[in-house]
């Protein structure tokens, strides 16, 4: 593992059952689900279906990527996601007639990011409990979004931008490309930059991070701003690809994102987490949805199965942690 000159590698960290579980659980779970899928439905293992699986969660997956940072830095969760998604989507379409599609999309993303920045200020700088802070901002922003459009639907104008969002490149939908690219940017951001290290440190031990000169408040605040930004992108993409938007557009996305991150093995206590594992969690939740329809189970069963997987994954993880702690 290490290339130290000193020998005596007495203890290999990858060999405990706990670390083995956290490394292998996600690939194994995906393989198991794929095998089940192949058995349940002949059309499961087709390129188009597998594309669908990834595409199903590619937009909400963006939020899960942001939520990973929130959880890693010890910020629990961002419950204002639906509001920021709605803001992003509604502004993107609502501003189109005034400023044109491109600028409107940017504006939408900007507004959602501003929502995230407010969360960041409340949580990072005022140190308000994230659950309450984001519950409050979510309520305000969602209310404002409805206030802005009164009721009803905002329709998109036909635009090249919308066509691009709906198109495919090399047979892969643009939405998947965007998700993959964002994940490929955020993975090194979390694991290989100073900023990512700060997030891990702040979540791991806030005080020690502060005493080591880590800009703790900025780090925490920026994780929420990032989630706002990604919620905005998600809203914008949804609005453009759907051609219309309503305030309910992001309903429930916060829970989907949290679930994906938790299934990916990131601890709610913060201090560890990985973007790739979150991507795994996003894929697992998508596979569940896909399998339910392909196997003809009622869609209402989704929560049952997802919840059971969350309990299983986190429960086993907690068990190994305790066992490791007792040694």
């Amino acid at each position: 593992m290490t290339d130290l000159k000193t020998p005596a590698v007495t203890f290999d960290k990858t060999r405990t059952p706990g670390t083995l579980f956290s490394t292998l659980s996600i690939p194994v779970a995906i393989v198991v689900l794929v095998v089940i899928g192949a058995i349940v439905s002949p059309s499961f293992l087709t390129v188009s279906n597998l594309t669908n699986v990834i595409n199903a969660n590619s937009t909400v997956g963006l939020i899960a990527l942001g939520m990973t940072f929130v959880m890693v830095c010890g910020g629990l969760a961002d419950l204002s996601v639906p509001a920021n998604v709605a803001m992003g989507a509604l502004v993107t379409l609502g501003a189109q007639p005034v400023v044109g599609p491109g600028a409107a999309a940017l504006l939408g993303i900007l507004v959602a990011t501003a929502g995230g920045v407010i969360n960041g200020l409340l949580v990072g700088y005022l140190r308000i409990n994230p659950i309450i802070a984001t519950l409050g901002t979510g309520s305000v922003l969602l209310g404002l979004s409805q206030l802005l459009i009164g009721g009803g639907i905002v329709y998109a104008q036909p635009s090249d931008l919308a066509n691009f969002v709906k198109s495919s490149i090399l047979g892969v939908p643009v939405l998947i490309w965007i998700f993959v690219i964002v994940a490929l940017i955020l993975q090194p951001l979390l694991s290989r930059t100073a900023y990512g290290r700060w997030n891990l440190a702040v979540g791991g031990n806030y005080q020690a991070a502060a005493a080591s000169g880590v800009p703790v408040r900025f780090t925490k605040a920026s994780a929420f701003a990032l989630t706002g930004l990604l919620s905005g992108i998600c809203g914008t993409l949804l609005a453009l690809s759907n051609g219309q938007a309503r305030p309910i557009i992001g309903t429930g996305y916060e829970f989907v994102a949290i679930t994906a991150v938790v299934i990916g093995g990131t601890s709610v206590f913060g201090g560890n987490g990985s973007i790739f594992r979150t991507v795994g969690g996003v894929i697992i939740t998508a596979l569940i949805g896909n399998l339910i329809i392909l196997s003809g189970l009622p869609t209402q069963a989704t929560g049952l199965i997802t919840g059971a997987i969350v309990v299983g994954a986190v429960g086993i993880d907690a068990y190994f942690r305790r066992k490791a702690g007792r040694e």
């Binding site: 279906n49 309503r246 896909n290």
Partner: protein, 326 residues
Amino acid sequence: MKARRTMLVASAAAAVLFAIAGCSSTESGTPSGDAGSVEGKEICYITLANSHPYVTPANEGAQAAADAAGVKLTIVSEEFSAQTGAEQLNTCVSRGVDGILLWPADENSYLPGLLKAEQAGIPVVAIDTRAGDESMKLIQSFAGADKYDQGKISAQQMEKALEGEGGVVIIAGQAGNGTEIARTGGFMDELEATESKLEVLATVNADFDQQKALVASRDLLTKYGDQIKGVYAEDDTMAKGFLQALEESGLGFIPIVIGINGEAGAFENIKAGTQYSTILQPPFRNGELAIETLVKVMKGETVPEMVPLENTVVDSTNVDTLEPAM
């Protein structure tokens, strides 16, 4: 400790304040005006939502009709929750308003409140959605395009378009939501009643959300492919989601897609030939009609049990002559 105790005492004092103020002002409550005139009377309107493409214009229609009749209209929104609505119904009754317009969010939850309204002699009219049979006995009239009927009509359309044969998928709204229940129920009951040979391949809940419909439709297309001869989407937004998935899939067959609501997007799709039909119900008119009916009841006039709002089926034959509802 001490401060908290003071606070509690003070809160109690505030409650007393309510009560005292209440005693002094109850006399001014609800004098009954002349029969025949509703000028200045108050209607409590329990609407489904404040922000919704169909409900919002209906609310506006109700407000316009109320203004025209000179009655005071208080709109409270149950936000799609029958439980909230049932509470609001109780509140409206206890406030002693002169009439109640109710948008039932499900069939069953309003019965106790309706009984109370009856005891208090407050007339109730339902808008847009029927309540259950028991409840309807306590409701003077129903003004709206019945969602259950929309389900039935959609089944008839499907029957007609497919000539009674083939596989159908249902893309339903949010599970447990009143509209979802009525539109699914109407559709299924009609199929059963007519002993239809249409086969329902699958029912998925996509929560009246285009994105969710898109994701679910992709999976449906994967599983059933061109076995899907007909698609019953419980609103046009979800129909749009299906069409999006179909286009993406490149499967190239054209199923019968039926939606409801008469959205602008659906009109375009019907013109383009990708959607078979939708059901148009003018929301603004719905609101007006409901208030007009309730006002009649309050004036003591007799009204029919149902004041129908035309469920206009929009298809390629008449799409150019009609205006979309939203």
